[in-house]
């Protein structure tokens, strides 16, 4: 018993912390530490689409374009391309085609990978079985060529891959749909399908560093897709390498071991615990941006201007499924950056009376920095256009009544209150489908929805409930009752909120409808049934969200485009909204460059949207990110996702902070042990007494 306290004291004297979750060998390393919550499903650029996967894919794969790290609004700039391609319009057979000719920079090389060593293309199954990682094999590299980009675009049509954007791209890339049909006949079970042997009409190699993509009609948004991993290069050798028998049984697939030209390569893939990205030794180097938006220089974001990236040698991502350990490890200095969950919000942030967010003294003492940004995302309360009460498809007077009902509800549902209660104020109410920062979004008094808000004293204020009640009466429901039948108006919200913790939200919704004396019935269901109802168009009111793929108004407005109806065509228009004028304007707007004329078209679309009110308000979430003082160049970029190369860490400062914040406190443990020992004493004495006791008392 005497050894343990002594050991504890000795260990405490070492000055090192005990709760460091990382190996001692990594101490002082130029390593970034972060987290991931959900195990990525796909790391193959043809299949990967979620933000959990983008953490890794965007650092490894290099599409031709990227977004400027610092500038806002978001701006496309070249990555591997020599310049941002401009489409050339050609007329052929009475149809218009857009031709994108993309020139890539010469001299770019792939990360070291066994696929580039020819001997590794014919491995025996026994040899594969013995491997712990594909990187156990001899590694090679080669130069990036235009053929690799062509190969990847062909992969979008591969019958054995599930490319989320195949449907969309097959509408534009010439011959892609027919190509997929041809590949279905060409594919043989268990055999590698060499796409080089199958030409794709709309995608051709011009020379070793140039390729050409031919699109049907105009599609200016294609440039944004060129900044996503779907259009990153794929060497055929990698596909062939991972297709060898025995690879899949070892979980060695392209879906798990990405091969790219980016600044980092995935060196450890354990999606259950840890993913590690290491500096790609073959990376060509890229200069840190020398310009940003106003204020970036003052925040130190231009201090590394012109310096060669990446700055960190390694990034370790640990899987954290629970918020409590994640938050505490961030506070202990074991993660370099973090978001803020609702549970920890009050500990991290205080909101001033003016509504400004600032760090609490506890965070400031630790040197933590806060960065907030409004996400290019919208959550909205949608009304099903096909519903006979709140929809608009019935036409005539009934549609007009429903329109006024929706407008009345849009005034009554207080999204500002919702954000304040349930999101700690992290969001702004939406006045149109467009998120702030997207072209077409207007600021200040011009931004507000005049149906629901008015501009007073330099601020948007929600219209009084009287306005809503008036609209409700005009809709034929005075005091929340049908003027014809006298029956109370009952509205149904389909929601996936059904746990005990969701009761407060449901009660809040009930309160919003009660303001207009409208009865509210939540139809709580699971995610699958909810999605099924949306697909069948059998909802009445529902809440869904959308995060933009790219920063263009088309990527928000299409959520209201009639042909995109979820119920009719399984599209993204969940409310099944249909307005021919809106649709015609959308068709015009989607092909226009950002200009005053485009702004005018967008203004008119928003005007129609506000008049029809297919969405009964919503909000754009505001993301809060926290950075430790030793993390440099950190700025939230909601669109690009390839921000790792810009980040810089100061390991010495981090180690000092960890030591200061995590000194073990051992006296309570010693005290506990002492209490345990002391509590055993009466028991021991009692035992001794009982053992010595004679059966009969001494005379």
């Amino acid at each position: 018993m005497r050894v343990l306290p002594l050991l504890l004291v000795l260990l405490a004297g070492c000055g090192e912390v005990w709760n460091n979750p990382y190996p001692a060998a990594d101490r002082g390393g130029n390593i970034l530490y972060s987290v991931f919550a959900d195990r990525p499903k796909h790391l193959d650029p043809a299949q990967s689409y979620t933000s959990d996967e983008a953490i890794f894919t965007r650092q490894v794969y290099e599409p031709p374009l990227q977004y400027h790290y610092l500038k806002r609004p978001y701006e496309l700039i070249p990555l591997t391309a020599a310049e941002v391609p401009r489409p050339r319009l050609v007329e052929k057979g009475g149809s218009t085609y857009s031709i994108y000719e993309i020139r890539i920079k010469p001299g770019i090389r792939y990360q070291p990978h066994p696929a580039f060593v020819s001997e590794n293309q014919n491995l025996r199954e026994k040899a594969i079985e013995r491997l712990n990682s594909p990187y156990d094999l001899p590694l090679g590299t080669r130069e990036l060529t235009a053929d690799d980009y062509v190969y990847q675009i062909k992969r979008l049509a591969h019958p054995q891959l599930h490319t989320p954007i195949f449907g969309l791209m097959s509408e534009y890339i010439v011959g892609l749909k027919e190509y997929a049909e041809r590949l279905k006949d060409a594919v043989r079970p268990g055999q590698w399908l060499d796409l080089r042997e199958h030409a794709l009409e709309g995608v051709t190699r011009v020379d070793a560093h140039t390729y050409r993509v031919m699109l049907k009609g105009r599609y200016p948004q294609f440039a944004y897709w060129l900044a996503m991993p779907f259009f990153a290069p794929m060497p055929w050798e990698a596909e062939k390498f991972f297709h060898q028998p025995g690879m899949a049984e070892k979980n060695f697939t392209l879906d798990w071991w990405p091969v790219g030209t980016g600044p980092f390569m995935l060196s450890q893939n354990d999606p259950n615990a840890r993913m590690v990205l290491e500096r790609n030794p073959n990376f060509r180097g890229e200069a840190y941006p020398s310009a940003g938006e106003a204020g970036d220089a003052a925040r130190g974001l231009l201090a590394d201007a012109g310096k060669t990236m990446p700055f960190v040698d390694k990034a370790v991502y640990t899987r954290e499924k629970e918020a409590i350990p994640l938050w505490n490890k961030f506070l202990q200095g074991y993660y370099d950056l973090s978001g803020i969950s609702s549970d920890n919000f009050d500990q991290a942030v205080r909101i001033s009376l003016e509504g400004d967010a600032a760090l609490t003294p506890e965070m400031e003492t630790r040197g933590i920095r806060l960065d907030t940004t409004i996400a290019p995302t919208i959550y909205y309360l949608g009304a099903n256009w096909l519903d006979p009460v709140v929809g608009g498809s019935m036409g005539g007077a009934a549609a007009e009544r429903a329109r006024k009902l929706r407008q009345a509800l849009a005034i009554a549902v207080d999204w500002e209150e919702y954000l304040s209660i349930f999101a700690n104020g992290r969001g702004v109410p939406s006045y149109s489908p467009l998120a702030p920062g997207i072209f077409g979004f207007r600021e200040g008094a011009e931004a507000i929805n005049p149906v629901t808000h008015e501009w007073k004293d330099g601020k948007a204020r929600r219209r009084p409930l009287e306005a809503a009640r008036k609209l409700l009466a005009e809709a034929g429901y005075p005091e929340g009752r049908d003027a014809g039948t006298g029956q109370p108006l009952v509205l149904y919200l389909d929601t996936t909120s059904r746990g005990p913790g969701d009761k407060a939200v449901i009660d809040w919704w009930r309160k919003q409808f009660a303001k207009l004396s409208v009865q509210f019935e939540p139809r709580q269901t699971d995610w699958n049934r909810f999605q099924e109802k949306l697909r069948k168009g059998s909802t009445q009111l529902f809440i869904v969200g959308w995060s933009a793929d790219y920063p263009d108004p088309e990527n928000f407005m299409f959520l209201l485009h009639g042909p995109q109806s979820r119920a009719k065509n399984q599209g993204e228009n969940a409310s099944n909204y249909l307005n021919p004028e809106f649709d015609a304007l959308f068709e015009r707007m989607r092909n226009m460059p950002n200009s005053r004329e485009r702004q005018q078209v967008i203004d008119r679309m928003i005007e129609i949207f506000r008049h029809d009110a297919p969405w009964i308000g919503g909000f754009h979430p505001k993301n809060f990110a926290l950075f430790h003082s030793w993390l440099g160049n950190a700025k939230v970029n909601e669109i690009s996702g390839n921000g790792l190369k810009y980040l810089r860490v100061a390991p010495a400062g981090r180690d000092a902070a960890r030591r200061e914040w995590n000194q073990p406190v051992i006296w309570p443990t010693l005290l506990l042990l002492l209490v345990l020992v002391l509590s055993a004493v009466p028991a021991f004495l009692g035992y001794r007494r009982r053992e010595r006791m004679s059966a009969r008392p001494a005379p």
Partner: protein
């Protein structure tokens, strides 16, 4: 005994088929193959064609349990149930819906689960038996009274509270161990210290109280009085006689859980970031990954049956009067 074991193993086959059928029914009552496809393909830009393609690739385009369009035995075999279930009986688990080899995953995740569950089991058993013997020894004294009060208090507290409280005190306030995470080899010790401690403490209340009752029951028997009458020390009476005879009911509850240790702890693994089979199962349920769910339920059933057989065998070891026929 061999014949008995063989018979029990044969009995297990219909049980496993039944378990498989129930798992299948429960899963597909909640999730249709379409739901599974949409969950795997993501919520964005999913076309009906992509859903059909996903289902066809994985055999979910077949009827669930009866294929009226097929001929002969194909009516039963050309179904999702048959195609997905029959391979389990030769322990061929196939691939998860995201195309990871399930057997490889289980092999990798089994060790972290065991690394947590085995110490919790062994240390917990030793602590609980010792504590129960202590209370039994001091029965009807203040030590016994407060021991029982402590047990009732400890068993009334949620495991989640122990976990969060333990993380707060040991990791956040005292900085003694990492709050979560895992590493292989000897490095695992610092990550496992807290979850093992919490696992042991959270189990003390219920187990100790139950063992105490068993010991007290034994201590009231004639052979104990005889042992005392012949002058044996109380410790000898307790450890050599009472403990041995109280082992049969203890074994009933203990041996059956030994094989299940492989399956890990759903809660602890999630909160402590231990990449074991418990968190694997939870992830699979959340992702509607039927391939993994049915494999884990099947393994759980097999291990449970193995545990019951082991329990029966262990009876013969601790009680010579018992014969398995």
């Amino acid at each position: 005994m061999f014949a008995y074991v063989v018979r029990r193993v044969l009995y297990a086959v219909p049980i496993l088929i039944g378990v498989n059928l129930i798992t299948f029914a429960l899963f597909f009552v909640v999730n249709t193959p379409d739901d599974m496809a949409r969950m795997q393909l993501g919520a964005r830009r999913v076309t009906p064609e992509a859903v059909e393609k996903w289902k066809a690739e994985r055999g979910y385009d077949l009827p669930l349990v009866w294929n009226a369009a097929a001929q002969g035995t194909g009516k039963a075999t050309r179904t999702i149930f048959f195609q997905k279930s029959v391979r389990l009986f030769v322990f061929d688990f196939g691939y998860s819906e995201d195309k990871r080899d399930i057997a490889a995953e289980i092999k990798a995740r089994m060790w972290p689960s065991l690394a947590l569950a085995l110490p919790v089991f062994l240390v917990g058993l030793a602590v609980c038996i010792s504590f129960a013997l202590l209370m039994a020894f001091f029965r009807a004294t203040y030590l016994d009274f407060w021991g029982v009060v402590l047990c009732v208090a400890m068993m009334s507290i949620s495991t989640l509270f122990y976990i969060i409280g333990g993380q707060y005190v040991a990791s956040k306030v005292w900085h003694l161990v990492p709050i979560s995470g895992y590493a292989g080899g000897l490095d695992a010790a610092k990550f496992l210290a807290l979850p093992v401690l919490i696992g042991v403490i959270s189990g003390i209340g219920a187990s100790s109280r139950w063992y105490r009752t068993l010991f007290l029951e034994e201590m009231g028997k004639d052979y104990v009085r005889t042992a005392r009458a012949k002058g044996l020390a109380e410790s000898v009476v307790l450890f050599r006689h009472v403990l041995k005879n109280a082992l049969i009911p203890i074994l009933t509850g203990v041996v059956v859980v030994i094989p299940l240790l492989f399956l890990g702890s759903l809660l602890s693994e999630s909160f402590f970031g231990i990449p074991g089979l418990g968190s694997y199962t939870i992830d699979a349920i959340q992702a509607q990954d039927f391939a993994v769910v049915r494999s884990m339920v099947f393994i759980g059933s097999v291990l449970y049956i193995a545990g019951l057989i082991l329990t029966d065998i262990s009876y013969t070891l601790v009680d010579p009067r018992i014969r398995l026929e």
